[in-house]
Structures are given as C-alpha cells and as structure tokens.
Amino acid sequence: MSRAEKLTDQILEKLKNSDVRVKREDILKRMRLLVEEFKVPESEAVKTIMNYLVKEYGVPREELFERESPLVKISEIVKPNQWISLKAKVVQLWDSNSPNVSQVGLIGDETGIIKFVIWAKAGMNEVEEGKSYLFKNVVTDSFQGRMQVNIGRTSKIVEISEEINLPPREMEIIGAIVSFQQNSGLIKRCNICKRVLSKGLCHEHGKVEGYDDLRVKAVLDDGLNSYEIILNEENIKELVGMSLEDAIRIAQENLDRNSVLSELKQRLLGRYFAVKGIRGGRYLLVRDISFHKPESKDFEELLEALV
C-alpha cells in the first residue's frame, strides 16, 4: 500500500460513522496529486483534503479535525489504520536504521507489548526507556504481518507519572541462540541521544565521541518459533561473567573491538537458554535468562511414554 493510499484510508476511517458518503478514488486521486506529484508534506496534504471534504461534501468540521481517538489497551490493537490513544511504558529502545525514523522500540501496558515508531518528521521530544507516557492520536499499522503504532505529526506524547505494569503473564522459552545480529558486542553510543554509532557517526548528531556499551542482539529459536532478543550488559555479565570493563580490556589487549564479539559468539552461539520474558510480535523482552541443560528424568519420562 502506498503512503497516499494509507493516508486516504486514515481519513476515511474518521468518516466511518458519518452519514456522508465519500468516494475513495476521489480522495486518493487528490492525495496522490498532492503527495506524490507536488511533494506536499503529508500533514499539509491531509489538512487540505479534509478542508475539501468539509466544503464539497459537507462533512462536519469537528468530525474530521476534532475527533478524539479512543484510549485503548495494547491487546485491543488488532486492525491497521485506527486512530487511538494509549497509556504505555517505554520498555525497550532500538537503533533506528532509517533517517526518517526518530525512535523505534517497544512500549507496553498490562495487556501486552507492541512495537512503536516515532517518525522523524513528527518532531517529537524523545521518549526514555522506563518512563510512561500518554500517546495521543497515534495510528495503528501492520508491518510484516505484525501490529505496530505510528506516531506522527498530529500525535502527542505526554509523560505521565502513574505506574504502568507490564503483563503479569511471562512466557518461558527454552531455545538456542542461532544467530547474532548486527551491532552486537562492544558498541559505541551517541553521548546526546544514546543511538548506536555507525563508523563513529550518529545519524542525528553526526560525528561525536560516543561512549562504550555492551550488548547482544540475537535470534532465539526453539524449533517452533524464532524470537529477536536483546541482552544488555547485566544479562551478559550474568551469563558469561563479562562486564563492560572486561570487554573494554579485551578490546584493548587485542587492539580490536571485534574480539569482544568473537568471544561472545564463542560462548553464546549454539547454546540453549531458558528465557523468561514477555512476547510482542516476534520480539521477546528478556526478563531473566540462564543457560539450560536437561536432567536425566526428562529422558526417563520420554522413554517411559514410548513403552
């Protein structure tokens, strides 16, 4: 679906309960003209078309412009193109690899966790991990078959002080780490925004000195599903006894930051782990992780069932 089509459907969604009949083709044609041909900023294009709908179709102005998006829980997000509001906690921030994206990661409430994207052109203040916010007027979207919420220029983010708990039901998965993803090992982050630097550059702040951090992005696979997980410094220290200081020392001794990655691969790749965490789409938010090995009674039980 093109952006023009998406924006068109977002407008139509606002008119869902209205008596006014509007032709999709009519809006889409105008949207394409404005967005694709004349490169008008999306929010301007939306505003222009909504004004046109008020004038030409007699749509009540408040239906388009003042429509409050209902406050929902994350588990209720099942359809794309819904305007909603959410109270949620930022549980994990990822690196965005697109200059169009300001921030991306996971937010959660007591019913679940979901991926969020704050578009760069939304011009929002950045959110912080562990803090809770009211995300107002955000739009649901489906990406690679999974739901997410998009935060754009018409959205609002307000920090709130109320405590938001994550889902009480954790799942426990026993799986093997089958792959390491990019930006694992001893990485450098931007001093200003914490984004991971690529070749010494932050794509927001350019050349910065940066500070060291230790983490692993990996794929955990239990033979039935695969999950993307992030292990932070604390997880790594608990599993293999390597602290950030140790990692920096290893890199210095070998004159190579990649030697930290090699060492972590040697000790984690292909191993089984018991992971407790919360699932959101294909992501598993790690609460607790340990090496896993079977007991002889596991074998006995299985053998007995075979007799």
């Binding site: 078959g145 093997a176 792959s179 033979g223 299985l302 053998l303």
Partner: protein, 222 residues
C-alpha cells in the same frame, strides 16, 4: 517485503538424510519435506564433528561430517557462508559442534545426497548435545503422531512419497535417548559434591561415543 524468518527445525540425521523431496513454498522459498512430514528450510543440529576436509588445496571450500546418535550429517562451507567460514580454522576433529544451516539436495547419478549449508557453526559442550537430543526426540515423536493421524497435508504427502516405517523411527528415537541418558546420569553423579571423591578416577575429558552406534555405511561405500 521482508519475509518472516524461517524457524530452525530439529531433525535427527536419520530423518534428514532420507529427505529427498523438495516443495516450492510461497515466492522463492523452497522446503525439503522429510519422511515424517516436516518442512525444512532451516535446521539446527548438534553432533560430533568427525571429518573436516578442504576440497582441493587452498580452495577454502570445506566438507564436514557431523554425527548424531542416529547417523551423519554432511555439510559444505564456502565463501557464501562467511560466518561459518570464519570459525572453520578453529574446529578440531573430533569435537562437539552446533550448526544452523539450510538443507541442500545434491543430485547424484544413482542417488541424492542431502547436505547442509551452515550459516553458523559453534563449538559446544555436552549439555547442548544432551538437550538437542531430548528436544529432537520430542519433535520427532510429535511428527510420528501426526503421521499416524494423517493430521495435515504434509503428513499425507510424506506418506505418499516415502511411505515410512514409523516403528523404525520410534526405535531410532529410543536408541538416541538411551545413549544420551547414560551420559546425563554420569554428569549428574559427578556434579553431586559429596560424591565427587569416589568419582575422581572417572576421566571425563571428551565426548564418549562408540563408532558402532553410528551409521557409517555411506562412509564405507566411498
């Protein structure tokens, strides 16, 4: 659009090496159908590296043979598997390894050779081998049950193509479980601190296996 990542299935070499039928999935994805009706696009295996051989001098193209308690997996590693190639120099024979990779069918004159293209190889310990055998046994038994019930289209297709002897597979699973269970029991005894002294003589430096347990027939043929 990026596809959902393919899950790494668990199969014993006994089942893997008998899988010859390929299925075209959606788009460009291909699957290998096993005799027990599993679709493989990626597998995770653990076993003893028994052979590591460079095919031709300085080609940096390697052939591996890895044994689990039911037979052997073959694998080839070349420049298109950079992460696996990175570690290949560090691998010793014999040594326990875990491999994540994609199945590949080589069409020979008289038969097909089913091989693996590793994406990643890691040297692992006994606990990994033990758990792999346990979970692979579980998955295999689940597949056997689905075959018995002719539960899904893939099971029906597997019956048509392979007409497998399910009892033979059950025996293979049983043998694999028994062989590893003993190791696990030994390890548990060693780890009990009060019994550490009397077990002192037991030298547990490597992975113990008996060659007769493995199907070496195709090696002998060559």
């Amino acid at each position: 659009m990026i596809r959902k990542r393919e899950v790494a299935k668990r199969v014993f070499s006994f089942e893997f090496s008998r899988s010859t039928h390929q299925i075209q999935g959606d788009g460009v994805v291909k699957y290998l159908l096993t005799p027990l009706g599993e679709r493989l696009n990626r597998v995770f295996i653990v076993g003893v590296l028994l052979e590591k051989e460079e095919i031709g001098a300085d080609t940096n193209f390697w052939r591996l043979r890895v044994s689990d308690p039911t037979g052997s997996f073959y694998a080839t590693v070349g420049k298109f598997q950079p992460e696996a190639l990175e570690i290949i120099g560090d691998l010793n024979v014999p040594e326990l390894v875990a491999i994540v990779g994609k199945p590949r069918v080589f069409e020979g004159v008289s038969r097909k050779l089913i091989s693996l293209r590793p994406e990643n190889i890691a040297v692992v310990d006994l606990a990994v081998r033990d758990y792999w055998v346990l979970e692979t046994a579980r998955r295999t038994l689940e597949r056997i049950e689905a075959m018995e019930k002719r539960e899904n289209e893939d099971a029906k297709l597997a019956w048509q193509i392979y007409n497998p002897d399910l009892n033979e597979y059950i025996e293979v699973v049983k043998k694999a479980l028994m062989s590893v269970k003993e190791d696990v029991e030994v390890m548990e005894k060693i780890e009990e601190p009060e019994r550490a002294e009397e077990e002192e003589e037991f030298d547990f430096t490597g992975f113990e296996f008996e060659e007769e347990e493995f199907d070496l027939s195709d090696l002998l043929e060559e």
